[in-house]
Symmetry: C2
Subunit: 277 residues, 2 copies
């Protein structure tokens, strides 16, 4: 902690600026007078109240869980296997409330602005890559039945859900998808789903309004043991080798976006339910 | 929007699962009976309420601003010049409340866990790169006087603040800094501040408890016109060429972390006040 050289009474300070007291601070400075000429240009300084350093236990769980979610979205978390138990309610409320939808819409809006500002070439080689699960299609109905990420991932159960072909579209993603197609981008759907799920995935996508993609790439048996980062990077590299310029990439996992042959711009959709390396 | 094939009455649905009504939905399913055998294994499905698609005006400003902040932290925003006007109060409240501090602490905790799990070599070549402003030192007292990012950045005013050498340490970053030094990492401070500010920066850092860094790299006149991404990438490349392995990198801007010669792991500290390309 540092002493606040410009404050009154040597008050220790850091982050907890009490802005409602701004004018009290101003009044104090005024009463004391400004001693040095070089300080005369200074604007009023806020009064700051110190809180103890190790206040973790004083931070409400909701704030801690918001920090956990933010850390995940900024790719700061080490690989994680499940939502922390104390955050189960927080994550459920987030996903079922306004915030998740708003977050999805803001990302789509930014992607749309970028797509519209991009001059698509006449050669049909500008491409946009979309992930499928939690990007174009939502598995929220499945996760609602499985603790919204609190339960460890169960491949068998999830496969049953996938095979029903009932995952709804994420509306803001459907809108973006249609828009980038209309702008002339080639659209490549690059999913971690296995080739065995090709039929049901095509059917599910079409039923939800996704049409006319240029390629749907599913995970072949040879790709099964690769991380998503490697598998997806290799597939993007193949696109580049075929002459495509990948200008946009939308995905809910950092493994959709990072690695090599990365897109000119990437858009990370929110997902606090699971992590795929 | 998709029809919910498994729902009752063809209710349109997407994100707004009303979990408090879960058991109402279960009761309905029970009353109708499960028609097909293959549906018998299904768990109760939540009842979902549709909201209009273009509900932007119904989303409170606070939710929209939270989405804007999240989008910035996940590197989804195009370069932005100032905090959106409607988010001025939101950003101020965030920075002066518990959330910012909690976010900083969670990132530092993750970085610390990673540092401790890393086997530091005996050759003194494992390095951690730290940015300075909003990473080791906080300029919050300055930004408190300038709308917390609402005002356009004013180099002259900001330089005056820097030259006072009074920026306080970010406590969670000071703790991390000390820890990675004790673990044996070389610590390189890589800042966008100009070489003219070397003296005051050294003094400010020491006064705040940062000692014994291995190198403090400031922006030379030749680097002035480069983006931060390029300038910092070039400096990391030089470190690599000198034989250092960059294992950790902490910064509040994506331009601290992306580009080339990137770190094995990067940690993005929160900063909703400004964007440096």
């Amino acid at each position: 902690m540092a002493r606040h050289a410009g404050g009154s009474g040597g008050g220790l300070f850091f982050l907890f600026l009490v802005t409602t007291l701004l004018f009290v601070a101003v009044a104090e400075v005024g009463a004391e007078g400004v001693e040095a000429d070089e300080k005369a240009h200074l604007l009023p300084r806020p009064l700051v109240i110190e809180l103890p350093t190790s206040a973790a236990e004083e931070v409400p769980a909701e704030v801690r869980c918001a920090s956990w979610r933010l850390a995940g979205e900024a790719n700061n978390l080490a690989p994680w296997k499940a939502v922390p138990e104390e955050c189960a309610g927080y994550v459920r409320d987030y996903l079922t409330g306004l915030a998740y939808r708003s977050d999805l819409e803001v990302v789509a809006r930014e992607a749309s602005a970028y797509a519209r500002a991009t001059r698509v070439g006449d050669d049909g080689r500008d491409a946009w890559v979309f992930d499928v699960d939690e990007t174009l299609l939502s598995n929220l109905p499945y996760y609602a039945d499985h603790g919204y990420g609190l339960e460890l991932f169960d491949h068998r159960e999830f496969d049953k859900w996938v095979e029903r072909g009932e995952a709804p579209a994420i509306p803001s993603s459907l809108k973006l998808y249609k828009e980038v197609r209309e702008l002339g981008f080639k659209t490549f759907l690059l999913t971690g789903r296995s080739e065995g799920h090709q039929g049901v995935t095509v059917e599910n996508l079409k039923k939800q309004g996704f049409h006319d993609w240029d390629k749907l790439i599913l995970r072949a048996p040879a790709d099964r043991k690769k991380t998503a980062t490697i598998y997806k990077s290799e597939k993007r590299k193949e696109m580049e080798e075929e002459g495509y310029r990948i200008l946009g990439n939308s995905g809910d996992q950092w493994s959709d976006l990072l690695g090599f042959s990365t897109s000119a711009r990437s858009f990370k959709l929110p997902n606090p339910m699971y992590y795929i390396p």
